[in-house]
């Protein structure tokens, strides 16, 4: 059962990592324009290269 002492922190840590990533995305305005983000990949931005 000692494996639990290792696995549970790993499981929780990964979950928290995901949660932190989500909060980071939320703060950085990644959810401000969901339609635009979906369409933006279709744009050619040669002038910016």
């Amino acid at each position: 059962m000692t494996v639990l002492a290792f696995l549970i922190p790993v499981a929780l840590g990964l979950g928290l990592l995901g949660l932190a990533a989500f909060f980071w995305a939320l703060r950085n305005g990644q959810f401000d324009d969901p339609d635009g983000s979906a369409a933006r990949i279709l744009l050619d931005e040669e002038d910016e290269a």
Partner: protein, 705 residues
């Protein structure tokens, strides 16, 4: 996004609304057009909000940006400051949802280990980890519910959030006690799962509302306008409507709407007041006459001395009428909260009776309390809490795909009860603008049509614009013209292949028409009229079949209203003032009718706000868009019966959902009262009932057909 070297000048930021931007290509063109403008350091389009944020040198003004976009083929308006309620409703719920989801998954994982037989110190460690995750998560993710429940309780009422909050808090508290005392009943997973499900439902609901609001806001932003002001010394300057003040002189070109009330100082023209009064015939005005904000200058440029601007315009009275009726509507109690009023006392009495019953039967206080909490948790309104929002989200999504925006959460509930519909005439039953006769356009020879299109595209006159649009829609290409010249109020004159051609005002003014001159051929007269919306007859027939009685109430003169009444077969009231319309609706409502008002104009504003529920076409005035619950974007009037039908299907599904939730309770509650429910059974039962309710609601996907 086009980048440029940063300029040393001070920079400013401007947000422009671009309603016509709807694809990746448009977004690219908008950003490029603005990026190429000297002084612009950055332009970032937001497709969801149909807007673009421009960073630019402060020497550059809004009008230059608007002109640059116009050159690229996009109509744009600077965005005004919007009131706070327009902020996203979904954003503040995303973080609680993420926390609840994370905590629910981890606690569930630990609970599964406990259920599958973890013993001794392992079990107690799992329970303590669950506690450490669950308690902060419940406090954080439960705040939206606790806040709303507390507000209701303080006002002495109850809503759906009250039983939810009581259930969650009791379950968490009891579980904490169980963990400390080493009992066997930790319900953290159930409480967190409940929060996750309910938050997910609310986030979806709020997202749908946000999208509808963004669509309507884009239209509203477009309505925000300004005027070219004539300064001393003949300098012309573009000012925002908010910056206009009495005493200024605005120059209003043909085809532009007035931004303020005023008196004409030079020039004469005709004005379209249909948004203001419902009157469809243009009103002539000349030097010394008063003209009102919101009217459209049809023929010739005029100079107008501003008498009232902003909030002092003639609209103030209409705004006051509307204020009073909006308060009346906020008294509406949503069906979920009505259900909660019946449900909460029953459940709470039942739980209390269970505790007393077990005590009388000789159980210990602790055991009686555990069973009482089990009753509260098993009846926890998971399915009930989802019954209404999920159905409304699915139905609103279906309606949005059909071009109908549902602005208000309770609008579908109120719309479903409709048994009486009142239609405004100009702009609602009709298209609200004079359109060229399609039969005459179809009969035009192809070369004549090409010349007419070329000529019309050189003018901003509303009739020219309509003519150009209709001809282009028929697949005609513009012919090549030379020496094009527009004479304001008369027409556009040019030369094509050596022949003099013109689109102009006809000499005899019998009704509205456009004359097409091609030298060497007889003059072709194209009559223009305000036509009924497509499918009007079919739409009214469908409403009749649904048991909705329709009639017309219009501010236009008797003759014009009679024609439309005859064409549609409806009874009509003509020459109604905004107050008349409001009073008619009030008296209908006093007689127990559920009135749907469909209107577009400023004069319909009070009526839209007074009616049980209201709809406006996308081309409606700012006031119309704001006062209505639903906005339909397509031309066809079939949107109205479609929305009513979808609302009724939604209420049917909501009632089924309630029935399902009650049926589930009828099975689960006796088990809970008998003390047979464990946390495992509770978790399974709650998920199952929620899935059934969600599945049933998904049947509304095709509701807007």
């Amino acid at each position: 996004m086009a980048t440029r070297p940063i300029l040393p000048e001070a920079t400013g930021q401007t947000m422009l609304v671009v309603p016509g931007m709807h694809c990746a290509g448009c977004m690219g063109k908008v950003e490029q057009a603005l990026g190429e403008l000297p002084g612009v350091t950055g332009a970032r389009a937001n497709l969801t909000a149909r807007s673009v944020t421009v960073t630019h040198a402060s020497s550059l003004d809004d009008h230059a940006l608007v002109l640059a976009l116009e050159a690229a083929g996009f109509e744009a308006k600077p965005r005004r400051e919007l009131p706070e309620r327009h902020l996203s409703a979904a954003r503040p719920l995303l973080a609680p949802l993420a926390v609840a989801g994370f905590a629910a998954m981890n606690v569930m994982l630990l609970s599964v280990s406990v259920w599958s037989g973890a013993e001794g110190s392992t079990r107690s460690m799992f329970e303590w980890i669950s506690t450490l995750i669950a308690i902060p998560a419940v406090i954080y993710a439960g705040r939206p519910f606790f806040a709303s429940a507390w507000k209701a309780v303080r006002r002495g009422t109850t809503n759906m959030d009250v039983p939810i909050s009581i259930g969650v808090i009791l379950a968490t508290g009891l579980s904490f006690y169980e963990v400390i005392a080493g009992g066997g009943h930790a319900w953290f997973d159930g409480a967190l799962m409940l929060l996750t499900f309910l938050l997910a439902g609310r986030v979806l609901d709020a997202m749908m509302r946000d999208r509808a609001r963004a669509g309507v806001d884009a239209l509203l932003g477009q309505a925000a306008r300004g005027a070219t002001v004539l300064r001393e010394g003949g300098k012309l300057e573009w000012l925002d409507a908010a910056a206009l003040s009495p005493g200024m002189t605005m120059r209003v070109p043909a085809g532009e709407r007035l931004a303020a009330d005023g008196t004409i100082v030079t020039g004469a023209s005709r004005f379209d007041q249909s948004l203001l009064t419902g009157e469809s015939a243009p009103v002539p005005a000349q030097q010394g006459d008063t003209v009102l904000a919101g009217t459209l200058n049809l023929d010739a440029p005029v100079d107008v001395r501003v008498s009232h601007a902003g909030q002092d315009t003639a609209l103030a009275e209409i705004a006051r009428l509307m204020e009073a009726s909006t308060q009346d509507r906020s008294k509406y109690v949503r069906i979920a909260d009505r259900a909660a009023r019946l449900y909460a006392p029953v459940v709470h009495t039942l739980a209390a009776a269970t505790v007393i019953g077990w005590l009388l039967a000789g159980a210990s206080l602790y055991k009686a309390l555990v069973i009482g909490v089990a009753v509260l948790i098993i009846t926890c309104p998971c399915a009930l809490g989802l019954a209404v929002p999920v159905a409304q989200v699915v139905a609103s999504g279906a309606l949005m795909r059909a071009g109908i925006m549902v602005k208000d959460g309770s609008a579908l509930e109120r719309l479903a009860a409709t048994d009486r519909a009142l239609f405004d005439k100009t702009g609602t039953l009709t298209m609200g603008e004079a359109l060229p006769d399609p039969a005459v356009l179809d009969a035009l020879p192809a070369d004549a049509a090409e010349i007419a299109l070329a000529l019309a595209s050189h003018s901003k006159h509303p009739l020219s614009r309509a003519l150009a649009r209709e001809l282009a829609a028929r697949g005609h290409k513009a012919a090549t013209l030379t020496d094009v010249r527009e004479e304001a109020g008369f027409g556009v004159f040019a030369v094509h292949d050596g022949a003099r051609v013109a689109v102009r005002r006809p000499e005899s003014a019998a009704g509205t028409a456009v004359a097409l001159d091609i030298s060497g051929r007889p003059t072709q007269l194209i009559p223009c009229a305000d036509r009924l919306r497509p499918d009007t007859a079919a739409a009214l027939e469908r409403l009749r079949a649904m048991g909705v009685t329709s009639s017309i109430i219009s501010g236009d003169n008797v003759g014009a209203v009679r024609d439309v009444a005859r064409a549609t077969g409806l009874t009509a009231q003509a020459a109604a003032t905004p107050l008349d319309k409001q009073q008619v609706i009030t008296s209908l409502r006093h007689n127990g009718a559920h009135v749907l008002m469909v209107g577009d104009g400023l004069n319909d504003g009070p009526a839209l706000a007074t009616a049980s529920v209201s709809m406006a076409p996308g081309a409606a005035s700012e006031v119309g868009l704001q006062a209505s619950d639903l906005v339909f974007m397509q031309d066809t009037l079939l949107s109205v019966p479609r929305a009513v039908g979808a609302a009724r299907s939604t209420m049917r599904i909501v009632k089924q959902n309630f029935a399902l939730a009650i049926a589930y309770n009828l099975i689960a509650v006796p088990l809970a009262i008998a003390g047979l429910v464990t946390p495992l059974i509770a978790a399974a039962a709650m998920s199952l009932s929620s899935l059934i309710v969600v599945g049933n609601s998904l049947r509304l996907v095709r509701a807007a057909k």
